[in-house]
Assembly symmetry: C2
Homo-oligomer: 150 residues x 2
DNA sequence: CTTTACCTTTGATTTAACTCCAAGGTTTAT
DNA sequence: ATAAACCTTGGAGTTAAATCAAAGGTAAAG
């Protein structure tokens, strides 16, 4: 059970942002105190963390509410419908993971290929690493590096 | 070798966006025709795809130019510097991948647990799946589903 | 008992990332 | 030779996602 300021601080957002999310229908505190204070439950906190997490991986607020609406609509939808929606979102997530793995592999190569020494990093670039498409290695400043097989 | 309209169409962006990226220092075409037309090389196209990809996984343009600057600065930096920068970015990417895997596992569970039939999907929600933290299963509308062990 | 946190509504401002428009001119394709 | 694509500068408009501000109040904590 948190009040707005508490949950805001815990999650590094502004209280204004929480009220904004409420207006957008993304996160409505489950309770109000007698005096009208917003009371956020554990579940609300979980939902907020979900929203924040989704945002950091590039989902828009609209997309996030679509993800969340899977929950809200649950009793009105047949399993088949839920499965369909979920599978579409899953495909979307998988795409993003693939994109990130693309970066990851390239950055990892770059890191591995740089000896980490004081020599100039000629020919080291993320784009060259991307180009080498996870097979060859782009950092060919041979004087100071070994090709590590990972 | 593409002209602005061509490369724009190929990558589903507006020509205005390309000029905007140029102004922001993200993507400057390598060449100009005699008449002043922007000429984008293969490498420029690759760079553009990089930008688009990075955007879809939630990087800001500023972050993207930081990633790209690893390339631009390469000859001015020692390998140790490059390695440092790259490793920081790598950590960032890994975080994002973890976030996405979190979604993925949950969505996958949701999908697996829904029989896909016409029954109501009571108790199926992404938040419940998240809650079950990749171990237990949240869809307990037992009448119509089996727990699949994946 | 007073400062701090919260409430409300309404509305303005900000930032990022485009997107569009105007005006006037050149180039390329049909 | 004329339409479509490009060039320039400069500025206005848009959308998403906040963030801030003001006014006038109630509640809670030290």
């Amino acid at each position: 059970m948190y009040r707005i300021g508490e949950i805001a601080k815990l999650n590094q957002v502004k209280t204004d942002t929480l009220r904004f999310y409420e207006k957008q229908g993304l996160l409505t505190p489950s309770l109000r105190s007698e005096s009208g204070y917003r009371i956020y439950t554990k579940k609300d906190a979980q939902r907020l963390r979900f929203i924040i997490r989704a945002k950091t991986v590039g989902f828009t607020l609209v997309e996030i509410s679509e993800l969340l609406s899977i929950e809200l609509d649950k009793s009105n939808k047949a399993c088949a419908d839920v499965k369909n929606i979920v599978d579409m979102k899953l495909a979307h997530v998988n795409e993003k993971i693939e994109e990130l793995n693309y970066f990851k592999v390239s950055l990892q190569q770059l890191s591995d290929d740089c000896c980490g020494g004081p020599e100039s990093a000629e020919h080291c670039s993320i784009l060259e690493a991307l180009e080498s498409n996870s097979s060859a290695i782009s950092c060919v400043n041979n004087s100071h590096q070994q090709h590590k097989i990972t």
